[in-house]
Amino acid sequence: MGDKDKSPKKKKGGKDMDELKKEVPITEHKMSIEEVCRKFQTDCVQGLTNAKAAEYLIRDGPNALTPPPTTPEWVKFCRQLFGGFSVLLWTGAVLCFLAYAIQAATEDDPAGDNLYLGIVLTAVVVITGCFSYFQEAKSSKIMESFKNMVPQQALVIREGEKVQINAEEVVGGDLVEVKGGDRIPADIRVVSAHGCKVDNSSLTGESEPQSRSPDNTHDNPLETRNVAFFSTNCVEGTARGIVICTGDHTVMGRIATLTSGLETGKTPIAKEIEHFIHIITGVAVFLGVTFFILAIVLGYSWLEAVIFLIGIIVANVPEGLLATVTVCLTLTAKRMAKKNCLVKNLEAVETLGSTSTICSDKTGTLTQNRMTVAHMWFDNQIHEADTTEDQSGASFDKSSVTWLSLARVAGLCNRAQFKAGQDALPILKRDVAGDASESALLKCIELCCGSVRANRDRNKKVAEIPFNSTNKYQLSIHETEDTNDNRYLLVMKGAPERILDCCSTIMVQGKEQPMDEELKESFQNAYMELGGLGERVLGFCHTMLAEDQYPKGFAFDTDDVNFQTDQLCFIGLMSMIDPPRAAVPDAVGKCRSAGIKVIMVTGDHPITAKAIAKGVGIISEGNETVEDIAARLNIPVSQVNPRDAKACVIHGTDLKDLSQDQMDDILRNHTEIVFARTSPQQKLIIVEGCQRLGAIVAVTGDGVNDSPALKKADIGVAMGISGSDVSKQAADMILLDDNFASIVTGVEEGRLIFDNLKKSIAYTLTSNIPEITPFLLFICANIPLPLGTITILCIDLGTDMVPAISLAYETAESDIMKRQPRNPFRDKLVNERLISIAYGQIGMIQAVAGFFAYFVILAENGFLPSRLVGIRLNWDDRSVNDLEDSYGQQWTYEQRKIVEFTCHTAFFVSIVVVQWADVIICKTRRNSVFQQGMRNKILIFGLFEETALAAFLSYCPGMDVALRMYPLKPSWWFCAFPYSFLIFVYDEVRKLLLRRNPGGWVERETYY
């Protein structure tokens, strides 16, 4: 019914969402400035008129992110209170009250049992509901985190005057000015810029600041230089631009709306619990109806039959299970938090265990998120630098004179420097002021050759030309450290081909040689090779300026270059990459062997992405992409059968043109996939594609651009250190150490808790049978009631709790990381085999044990089993105070009721005794207990705890009044022992057969 109500609404929401999932529709970057001005009826010098601005403000609304319609707190609370498992308990409670109402209306002195049971059920649901509510209340602050990114003020030019206004009042067509340190107040088309660089990392994931200029450099609005985006940072320089989108229409606004508006599906564990409820309800209703009919046939009145029906249905509700599951998940969440996986949503604990696909972001998760010098080329040879986090990797020969020169150039021609006050820190951990490549060089040189700063002090800088995109090089002129030498040293670095053009000689083994064709060829090869590794390559050269031309004190003019910039001496290349984290290849390998597909989704370039993918094993050794095959066979890409390639690298622009079927095809047929240059919307589409194929998808990411995918994923994993606030809000889990390897821990814990929950549930459900059968026999055989409502509650909410929870501490039976992820359609948390074992076999033995204790007590008090059948009506008749037993003795009502309640106590104690054996057999599903051992201390504690509790309930004075439980004679404790032993032996034999006969009948019918 609820679904029917929702569907039209959902459809509408879905349509909006589909709209948002499409690519950004910005076209202004392709227009000329005049066209843009015309479009917004503005002027690129004077800005909008105030009137126009006011008009636009009314038309478009304020430049702010609209929060999604929030669900009020009480609705959320009710959702916790009436969702999932609670429904079952609520139904039970309502039925109890109904039964009590019927009894109260028809009898003068109704038994309070149903009333108490109803109250207890209500209390259980409310308490666990509150618990989960407070767990969840912390999350879901996505929109707030987006709002924190939005600038407060903006500098706009209206009617030719600069005015500082509230960012909310900025409208389309406004001419705005931004400078270094500002946040950009809206999406703007740059009109003019001076050395402007923006940090787009929150949008695209690219950590490098990017320069902005008025020229259109790319068709894709996200990549073109002439658009700056709402809420990104301007790092340096100034720019002026025309606002083209505001508020929710901006790129960031669309991501925010998309993220906060996405409907996420149910977690796998929630689905499993739902399935479980269906089974339990099915069994309960089946039993209830069967015995309802039976009761009618046996001649009970309609009213009695209805009360029996309700009683049976309620008796089937495992009252303690909701709490058990919640506690088990909480315990695992705590354990995971210790291992750096912070779980925000309790149900997500298990999700990682079910995960079959991980879509991982590259930067920061797989890689160290810092540029590092990886290779160098000098002396006509490629040298490998150490890129590991702890400097444990290989080193190279540092004695070459060429290397010293290269290090000197790299250190001097470098504007990056360490921030102050970090001398105590290891070099790699220090913060650097400067761009990523320069920092990489700085750290590399500092590591190899000692203090760069001292070197710079010795070689005073006299002039400098900073890097710009036209020159594509950076140059500086220094005094030499040799005080006798009055020559100046010119050092230069930049794009390798540019540097090579400036050079006429090359240094080999410390000697300058003329640059010949052979060396040039060698240079080209090295450049291609390093580039092919996805690395950023820089060339270095230097020269000593002739003293006669440039005497000491020569005024170098960097604007109007008055010195030699050619005929230099080429020294070498250095290439940098953001290297993979050390633990990642191993972790990826573990995911592989655990049957999890790892897909890389990154905003980075395909070549870099592929290189890293190969480095960490996402594309495993020997696997080729279509392009690789084509290159190897020297045939066009179109002739390669795509099925031959297991791996593939897909560019974002290609992804845009793919149909849904093609997308499915790619995801289905390639085991190793890398998506490069993807937009936030595309990440979302990839996730949805995987989910469409039935995969349970985990997404890792740290940027704002990842947040829609994080939200949509079955489990979103954000990065604790580098992650943006928004991504953390959208995620279900946070990796506190940003390390992909922690995900493996998460997977392991998730799988373990799924197995252990099965065991917990098997354990808890088993005692349901000895709880129901007494009532059934009471109806059918007319014997005194063997087990009362209060004692049932004592089992479900008392003695069973700790052992059930202790099973969450059970260690894995086998290497759970060596098997495939569970199939959500086939491998259920609770399946018919579990029910068959728990209800049909072990539960029945337990019931028989309970009945034995019951018959022992009644027989020893004078009522032999033969006397009991059919005695019920007289037994429960208050006016009969001379009921005869088998020996001819006469009993008053109260006297025999005390015996009956003693029986309840004994039945209860017997269940505790047989549950000892049950918890031990539930420790394992396949192995013998002797293989598994009894190392679970909590479980041992649980055994003692339940026994102590049972003894307390039986012997504590006052319990006869409070709970109607009576002290047992010591011998009555031993009634269930043979059955407890029987359970243990039976299950050990079953498991033995199961192990001996893999795939045999026993496994097919009893392995849960």
């Binding site: 029945m844 001379d882 006297q895």
Partner: protein, 303 residues
């Protein structure tokens, strides 16, 4: 059948599509049969084990005396007719309104008809005054076989015997109650040792071998409304020569002594609460059990 009548090719096709389904169904039914068989055997064994343990239990039990008697003793005091919610209400003039009570009394007293008690093999006279316990040998002494029972003559119950008045006084507003002390195997009630604990009315006529019974108003304000209460029976109490009881197996003919209580002058059209108590050294009362050594009953007789 349909497929046979149509073209051969089509029937072939149907067979081809049906066969895997049939195989699947057969496999399914086979699995179901196996499971069913398994459960039949499993429950068979379980039932066997259960019956075995029950048999073992029965072996440990005595035929003559239950293992524990701590819950059944001290004895209850029960009355005929039974009261529903300890209430006896009827209309004096309307026989139908009290016939259920009188019928129950007649049925109960039938067991005490003298013509059943003639057999000298099983019955003996135990005197007409209360005497001490009659020991008939040890309980487990199987050679002694059936033990004799003391006769109990209905006439002892006087006007409440039902021999003269089939209405047991109900029609006159003077209803009778037949009271018995519940049977407990091998239990010997002891006469009160201390006269001080008895109600004043009993102190005067205290007898040594008798468990006396006494009824009075439960509520203070009813004191004047219940009138005289008459007691019938041997010594107006439970004489000790009827004890001990040797259990159903050895003492099948046993008749427990009865006392009849007649309320001769109850105020009509009012709810009157009366409490009856027996007094003895080993007779106890319990807060919770309103029938242990005592009972209370509400009379509402309307004219």
């Amino acid at each position: 059948m349909v497929s046979l009548s149509t073209g051969a090719s089509r029937s072939l096709a149907t067979v081809a599509t049906q066969t895997p389904w049939k195989i699947a169904r057969r496999a399914f039914t086979l699995a179901a049969v196996k499971i069913f068989l398994f459960y039949v055997i499993f429950y068979g064994c379980l039932a066997g084990i259960f019956i075995g343990t029950i048999q073992a239990l029965l072996l440990t039990l005595s035929n003559y005396k239950p293992t524990y008697q701590d819950r059944v003793a001290p004895p209850g005091l029960s009355h005929t007719p039974r009261s529903v919610k300890s209430e006896i209400a009827y209309k004096k003039s309307n026989e139908e309104s009290y016939s259920k009570y009188t019928d129950a009394m007649t049925a109960f007293l039938k067991m005490y008809d003298l013509d059943i008690q003639t057999d000298g093999q099983n019955y003996e006279d135990c005197g007409v005054t209360p005497q001490t316990y009659k020991d008939r040998g040890g309980l487990e002494d199987s050679e002694l076989g059936q033990r004799k029972a003391c006769r109990f003559d209905r006439k002892l119950l006087g006007v409440c015997s039902g021999l003269d008045d089939p209405h047991y006084g109900f029609n006159e507003g003077k209803p009778c109650l037949i009271v018995k002390l519940n049977r407990i195997v091998n239990f010997k009630p002891r006469a009160p040792t201390n006269n001080q604990s008895l109600p004043e009315a009993l102190q005067a006529k205290s007898q040594p071998n008798l468990i006396p019974i006494y009824c009075k108003n439960k509520r203070e304000e009813d004191e004047s409304k219940i009138g005289e209460i008459k007691y019938y029976g041997m010594g107006e109490g439970f004489p000790l020569q009827y004890y001990p009881y040797y259990g159903r197996l050895l003492h099948a003919q046993y008749l427990q002594p009865l006392v009849a209580i007649q309320f001769t002058n109850l105020t009509l059209d009012q709810e009157l609460r009366i409490e009856c108590k027996v007094y003895g050294a080993n007779i106890d009362y319990s807060e919770k059990d309103r029938y242990q050594g005592r009972f209370d009953v509400k009379f509402t007789i309307s004219s």
